[in-house]
Subunit: 109 residues, 2 copies
DNA sequence: TCCGCTTACTAAGTGAAACTGAATAACGAG
DNA sequence: CTCGTTATTCAGTTTCACTTAGTAAGCGGA
């Protein structure tokens, strides 16, 4: 459930979901998958998640913490928090516009 | 401005933006570009927009209206409205989770 | 009338990312 | 010692977003 529609867009980026997840606290990949599933309903396959982690790290929005060689935890960086806040603001604007427009008794009268 | 970050995700799907735009009323492509620019800050290039329109039409979420051979107007379908509402709900959940988590005095104490 | 601007869409080609799915492996429970 | 969960890596494919360029109708002004 909470399916990302194949063909057509995904409707929410993996990168955003990761940032939201890490905003709660440090996590390793596998826990992010579970967390993201809970708050967004999107179940990510490993390949999708780890690919996004790599790119986010290159961007400097998250950083790897000392790994215990089984789990590889990540932390969101200050730049990551900035980016997240900015994106959330944009998201809110779009969501509000959409809600306003899709609300008024569609199909009725 | 309102840049979609090249590499890394786009953070908002073109398809969603189109649905929000059409939720306000019928529009042809060029006007959607302007409308979307206004409410989301994302300026789409023609190729991006028209590609999304094609896929949305195949999906049955929008439909082409009789064209005057210069403008090609589109209308959102009932299924499109359903899909939009569902996506907005998901978006709101993500946005709320993100805002809650990114809020509490980050980096302070 | 013809020049140029805005409007409006079409089309081609590229790269990056999301997705699937399978392989690997450590660890705990029983 | 075996099975299920935890956790990550990797390979391969699809698809979308992006850029850019091209076509063309309509309109205002000189």
């Amino acid at each position: 459930m909470g399916r990302r529609t194949p063909d057509l867009g995904r409707f929410t980026d993996v990168a955003l979901l990761v940032l939201v997840s890490l905003a709660e606290g440090d996590k390793h990949g596998y826990r992010m998958i579970q967390d993201i599933e809970e708050f967004s309903g999107s179940s990510l396959e490993p390949g999708t998640l780890y690919g996004a982690l790599m790119r986010l790290e290159e961007r400097g929005w998250i950083e790897a913490l000392p790994s215990d060689e089984r789990r590889r935890p990540y932390r969101i960086t200050p730049q990551g928090v900035d980016a997240l806040r900015e994106q959330l603001a944009t998201l809110r604007r779009i969501e509000e516009t959409g809600s306003r427009r899709a609300r008024p008794s569609w199909g009725v009268a």
